[in-house]
Structures are given as C-alpha cells and as structure tokens.
Amino acid sequence: MSATPTSRRDLPGIYSKAGSLRAERRWALIWAYISLIISAAILLMPPVYMLITSFKTSREIADQNGNPWIVRDPTLGNYWALIADPMFQGFFFNSVIITLVVVVLTMVISILAAFALSRMRFWGSQVLATGVFLTYLVPDTLLFIPLYQIVGGLGLLNSIWGLILVYPTLTVPFCTWIMIGYFASIPKELDEAALIDGATWPQMLMKIFIPVALPGIIAATIFAFTVSWAAFVYPTAFITTPDQMPLTIGVVSQLVRGDTFAWGQIMAGALLAALPPVIVYAFLMDYYIAGLTAGATKG
C-alpha cells in the first residue's frame, strides 16, 4: 500500500518536533527553576535581613563598615530583652486573645452562612452570596473611617474588644466564600441521603457537612487566623495605649523611643510575631491548598 499523505514521513513540517518531548520538558523545568529562584530571592530577602539584624547588637547595626548581611558578633540579647519585657508579653497576650476570639466568631458565622447560602434554597440566597463576596472587595483602609464612628459610638475605642468587633468584617466574607465553594463541592445527594436517613438540618451540618468539609474549614481558619494576627490598619486607627495593643502595632510603635529605633529588637519582635502563622502554615499547608481549590476543581 502506498504511503498516505497523513503518514508521518510525508509531513516532516508538522512532525519535525516529534521526539523532542524530553527536551521541551527540560527547558520548561529550567525556566520554572529560574523564575522560582528569582521570586524566592525577592520574597525571602526581607525576612532573611530581619533574621540577620535580630542577631546583631545595636552597635553592630549602627556600624556603617562591613557587609550588612554578615553577623560579626551574634547575640540573642534582643530576643531575651523582648521576651522578658512585660509590655511585649502584653502585646503577645492581646494578639492571642483577639485572634482566638475572632477565629471562633468567624468560623461560627461563616460555616452557618455558607451552609445556608449553598444548601438551603431561599429567596435572595444568590444575591446574598454575591453580596458577601463584594463586601470582601471593600479595603479596610476605606472601612476603618465609618467603623471608627461605630466603634466610638459603642465606647469600644482603645479596647481589644473593639478590634474583636471589627476584625470579622475582614475575615467573615472571605471565609464564607471559601466555605460556600467547599460546601458546593459536596454532592447534593449526600444531604438528601441524610435527610432521608432522618437528619434535621442542624444534624446534617454537624454530622455530615462539617466532617466532610474539614479541609475547607481548616483553610478558612488559617485565613482568619492570619488576617487577625497580622491586621495593622484597624489597631493603628483604634488603639492608642500600649496595654491594649496587639503585636503588629506594639512592636513598631513602642520599640521606637523618641527618634531612637531599637532595630535589633524591632526585627526580633517582628520575627517572633511572624512565627505563629509560619508554624500554622507549615503544618496545615496541604489542607489550606485543598480548601482553597475545592470550589474551583470539583463539581
């Protein structure tokens, strides 16, 4: 049989690249590594500089000679000074209280809202779901002005309870959105099976949805934790005295005395403040990714 025009030999132009799959893959990997190394270098430079500076004495930091990326006389003094400082302990304690309460509040509100919006068909549920997401798009730099009036009206200015009241405006919309996505990925037949098995709506939520959606819940919890732990704009606007300050503003406002910057302690404080989120991410990263991508990849 004569060769057909579609045989590989007759169409060298089209098939000339066939067989170079391995080379293509190698180049893709090379480019991927180059991009990753550049972005990692850019992203890691500030924390690495913080780490290096935190091990330096004030004299070494002030010294203009020598390479700033090398520690000549390492010390843990900055860390010990901070850890022993009752004011720093107060910042840490405030941050822990605020974050714990906000995370619990956020998760209770988000799970209930997402369950209702994704599963209980009622008039306006779609509009509400979109509304929840739109709320997230309003930046806190705009929201803090009206919120200042509200928190002031409630007499909660300069109090961690004022922060506990306003942080959910940052966490609830996004967490609800994550949870809506996750709940939507759970097949409808599962709740129908539970309904037929005799479950009430609250039982269905507690015994089916929450256990099944655990990766999503963990993802949302991590998000709420990170946002409340790292919030900066609201505490800057609402808190004025050190006893009510969380770590984020405590470190930068109280470690600068007059025009003297305690750089070593500021860096050590910032690193200590960043430690809890890093630990949480390190252990729960897989759940976080699974939770964030659930709505996008599953029916």
Partner: protein, 366 residues
C-alpha cells in the same frame, strides 16, 4: 410495608416548565415498580416527589394510606438508593449503615443486629470497617442498599442505581437487587432509563415521556401490546421498526403496501380490528426479532420480504442486519449461520402475527 398512591401529581418549575403533568399511579404493597423513560421524562422528579426531596405543585401522594404531601423525607419511612451512592465519605461502612438508625435513637444492640444482618444479605460483612473510598463501585452500591435495608422502611426508592457501574457489574447488581427484593419483599419504586433493567426487574413497568405516563403494565404486556408508538419503540432492543405503509382492502382480506412495492398480507385474525382503517396511511411496526431469515418451519402468518443489507452486525448468538427502506431504517435479527452480505439481496420473512399498526396522526397502536 405499604402501597404508594400518586393522584394527579404535577411538578412545575419557575417559568412554567412542567416536569410532571398530572400523573396517577397506584403501587401495590410488596410490588416492584420501575419508572422508565428517556432523559427529562419526569421519572426522577416523580421519585424525588415520593421521597419528599421535591415539593409537589399539585396533587396528592399517599404512602401506606397516609397523605405525605407536607411530611418531610425523614418522617415518610422511606429509604433511597442514589445513582452516585451518596455514602458518607468520613464514616465506615458500618457507620454509614447505622447512621439512620442512630439518628432514630435505636438501641445499640438492635442497630448492630440489623447492620450485621443486612451485611450478611449483601455479602459485605468483611467490608464493615472500611471507608467508602476503599470500596469498588459495586461494593459501594451494596453498602448504599444496605443503608436502605437496615431501616426496614415502608418503601425503597432507587434512582438509577446501576448507571455508574460498568456493563458486567450492572448485570450482576441487577440480579442482586432482584434477589434482595425477593428476600425483604418491600414495596419498591425504581427509576432507570435502561429498558432492559426495567423489563428484568419490574413486576410492573411505568413508561414515562414528556411528564406523562404513556403506559403501565407487566413487562411482557408492554412488549407484546404497547399502547403507543413511543412505548413500542422504547421497549425492546434493538427498537421496533416503523415503516410507513398503506392499508388496503383486497377481496375480503387486508393488505399492507410498503415502499419498494412490498405487499404483506394482514393475518385474518386482525382483519376485524384493522378494518375501519382500510384505505388509510398507517405505520407498520415490527420488531427486528419478528423480521427474520426464512428458516422458520411454521410459515403460517408470515410474509416474505427481500431486502439488501446496508450494515451487518454479527453479535455471536445472532446477527443484526440493517436496511434502508425508502429512507426508513429497518433492522432484522438473523440466525448467525444465515449467509448475508452487504448489498446482496436477502430473503426474510415478517411474522405478521406479531405486527403492530400505528395511527400516524395519534401515534396510538391500533
């Protein structure tokens, strides 16, 4: 156990689309009824209305003589098996089966007894500690059935339970379902789009189309005496041939004039029935198994046809041949030993005592 009554059931969605258009159906105690029809015919919606998962727009549903229109699914005393199994992924097989009983606060010992008994019936005892993700499709479907059995409900509802299984497993599970029904004898409503499943499982088949019931009856009755062209075409595989024809009177007998000058004699037993339609256009319906090679020894009520096959499909136990008759697709079933070649004339006989005539204006079988 109980009977199920549907009276003038209507399901309309927003925008006025009616999925179910006022159906009436009585399902007897212990009966196995299969709702069958193409996609969008309203069969699943009907099942879901019986389950209480869809609200009914109008009409009444009664289970065991109790009106259940406004009763939530959990209080209807029904159990349902879903197409995708709907097993709780975080629970073991045992917990999946026990879940409904635990919610109803059954004593632990009774739950254990029922779960183990159901597991024994379904042959899944070794799987009780496994999670659903560690099971095959067939095993998952057994667990889903187990979850229904342990509840000992008044009615079992099956929503296309075999559609996710491969062909071989489907046949195997079909037999399992029939066996389970013979053991527990619970009233069962089963939805499928597969007419073979409907025919093999059902005490009575309900054929639905466009939201209405086309015909209800035992499988053999639907096969031999379809009421409409839709039922005639839907039941049976390959489906019935419909050939445009004209019914003519000729010296006291009736004859069918088909395209290509084919003339077939109508059996004398049918003359009185078809007499009023003499001189009219009709559709001649004949199943492929009744259009066969002329090896039959008893040639009474048969009529010869010679056609040229376009496609020949050897199936092993039989050979299917396909023809075009004036644009109409026609299939015939042959003995595999019969020599047939594409384009070569093939002598067939039509078993006219198995024929159907359909009024093309009403689509009713005459």
């Amino acid at each position: 156990m109980a009977q199920v009554s549907l009276r003038k059931i209507v399901k309309a969605y927003e925008g006025g689309v009616q999925a179910v258009k006022g159906i009436d159906l009585e399902i007897a105690d212990h009966e196995f009824v299969v709702l069958v029809g193409p996609s969008g015919c309203g069969k699943s919606t009907t099942l879901r209305m019986i389950a209480g998962l869809e609200e009914i727009t109008s009409g009444d549903i009664a289970i065991g003589g109790t009106l259940v229109n406004d009763i939530p699914p959990r209080d209807r005393d029904i159990a349902m098996v879903f197409q995708n199994y709907a097993l709780y992924p975080h629970m073991s097989v045992y917990d999946n089966m026990a879940f409904g009983l635990m919610l109803r606060k059954f004593p632990k010992a009774e739950i254990d007894r029922r779960v183990k008994e159901a597991a024994r019936i379904l042959d899944i005892t070794p799987l009780l500690e496994r999670k659903p993700k560690a099971l095959s499709g067939g095993q998952r479907q057994r667990v889903a059935m187990g979850r229904a059995i342990v509840r000992d409900p008044k009615v079992f509802l099956f929503d296309e339970p075999l559609s996710n299984l491969d062909a071989k497993l489907r046949v195997q599970m079909r037999t399992e379902i029939k066996k389970v029904h013979q053991t527990v004898n619970t009233t069962t409503v089963y939805v499928t789009h597969d007419q073979v499943e409907a025919m093999t499982l059902a005490d009575r088949v309900v054929v639905m189309n466009h939201g209405i019931i086309e015909q209800v009856g035992p499988p053999q009755e639907l096969y031999h005496h379809p009421a409409t062209k839709f039922v005639a075409g839907f039941i049976g595989s390959p489906s019935m041939n419909f050939i445009p024809a004209r019914l003519e009177q000729a010296s006291g007998a009736l004859r069918l004039h088909l395209p290509h000058d084919i003339v077939l004699n109508v059996p004398a037993a049918r003359t009185a029935l078809y007499q009023p339609h003499a001189g009219k256009d009709v559709l001649f319906g004949i199943r492929p198994e009744h259009l066969t090679d002329d090896k039959a020894t008893d040639k009474a009520n048969t009529a010869p046809i010679t056609l040229k096959p376009d496609v020949i499909e050897p199936m092993g136990m039989e050979t299917l041949v396909h023809f075009k008759l004036n644009g109409t697709e026609v299939s015939a079933r042959l003995d595999p030993a019969t020599p047939a070649a594409v384009g070569a004339p093939l002598s067939l006989i039509a078993h006219m005592d198995q024929m159907h005539l359909i009024d093309p204006t009403t689509d009713k079988v005459l």
